[in-house]
């Protein structure tokens, strides 16, 4: 996905004489504005859903919040961090994919193990909890 307006990239290339394989950190006014508008929309919807209590189902609201959050992270990656598969010869994308894999393992693993521990614990009432040392 290319977010560079051709005229801007040409001007940049003429000024420096080199811009090959060096896309990280360069955006255009259009790409920043697009990212900003999308972010505002993607932030406003989940806040509105929770603050105005729009949906009856809490599970559905939670699913929408997490989905919009994930979409907004991708929007930020593309329009603000200028991620693409070409920058640094693809190594930034490789590092990102590896990190996402590690994050997925850490999150799902922690939740899975701790959920099992919780369900196998002795049941405890709030009163017992209050009197804990």
């Amino acid at each position: 996905m290319s977010t560079h307006a051709p005229s801007h990239e040409d001007a940049f290339e003429a000024h420096h004489g080199h811009s090959h394989g060096h896309d990280a950190g360069h955006g255009t006014l259009k790409s920043y504005a697009t990212g900003f508008v999308l972010s505002v929309i993607l932030t406003a919807i989940p806040f509105w859903l929770v603050m105005a209590d729009v949906l009856d189902s809490a599970v559905l609201t939670a699913a929408i919040i997490m989905a919009l959050g994930a979409v907004q992270i991708v929007v930020h990656m593309i329009f603000f961090l200028h991620m693409n598969t070409r920058s640094e010869g693809g190594w930034t994308m490789m590092a990102l994919i590896f990190t996402i894999l590690l994050v997925a393992i850490a999150l799902s693993g922690s939740l899975w193990v701790m959920h099992h521990l919780n369900t196998n614990m002795m049941p405890m009432s709030p009163e017992m909890m209050k009197n804990m040392p």
């Binding site: 929770v50 939740l111 209050k130």
Partner: protein, 209 residues
């Protein structure tokens, strides 16, 4: 001098000591800084995992719905979002070699960052005043650790912003300063990405119950 270079000189060519391929000194810095951000991402991932595990353990204390002031969080989020776009404007001004505009947009970004940290500190002070400090419950411990770590990062980013403003004011938009500005750009936008996770998962999902 080797025979190869002597022969090159005899032919009237410059001896080839260097790779003729184009070289980008800032290229490796960007990749290295990206790897740092990815490792920082892992720090936040384990803090999110901790909050996911402990976030419902209230120890008969206050829950997120009792504590969190969503309008304040919404204002806080908009501060960080505005600072992202103004830093983008600073980068655009930098690419046009407009030193004054770059400095001005950086100052605006720093102000939004300070507003964000200020609102967060106000929220923390309010929670502590209500007796909902990090020692109250496992939920509040993990909340303060996660949100506080993010706040510390933003504070470090603001300090970095002022250091770079001094550098740019003194030496102008030289390649070294452009490289530093691009590193801070990645750092600043990365913190905004982490904040998306914080407001979605900690605040909104927390209040939802």
């Amino acid at each position: 001098m080797t025979e190869f270079h002597q022969r090159a000189l005899d032919k009237g060519q410059a001896p080839a000591f260097y790779l003729t391929e184009e070289h980008h000194p800032e290229g490796s810095t960007m990749l290295g800084f990206w790897l740092y951000l990815m490792s920082d991402c892992l720090i936040f991932a384990v803090l999110f995992a901790t909050h996911a595990v402990l976030g419902r353990n209230y120890a008969a204390g206050p829950s997120p719905a009792d504590l969190f002031d969503l309008p304040l969080v919404a204002v806080n989020t908009s501060m960080l979002l505005f600072s992202s776009i103004t830093y983008g404007f600073a980068m655009l001004a930098m690419e046009r070699y407009e030193k004054k505009a770059t400095l001005a947009w950086m100052a605006v970004t720093a102000l939004f960052g300070i507003a964000f940290v200020g609102l967060e500190l106000y929220e923390f002070a309010h929670l502590l005043h209500e007796g909902a400090g990090p020692q109250r419950s496992a939920f509040l411990s993990s909340f303060f650790t996660l949100v506080g770590t993010h706040g510390l990062h933003v504070t470090a980013g603001i300090v970095w912003m002022f250091v770079l403003m001094a550098q740019v004011a003194k030496r102008g938009l030289i390649p070294e300063n452009k490289r530093r500005l691009m590193c801070l750009s990645m750092f600043w936008h990365f913190l905004d990405v982490v904040w998306i996770g914080v407001f979605s998962f900690v605040y909104l999902m927390g209040v939802l119950g």
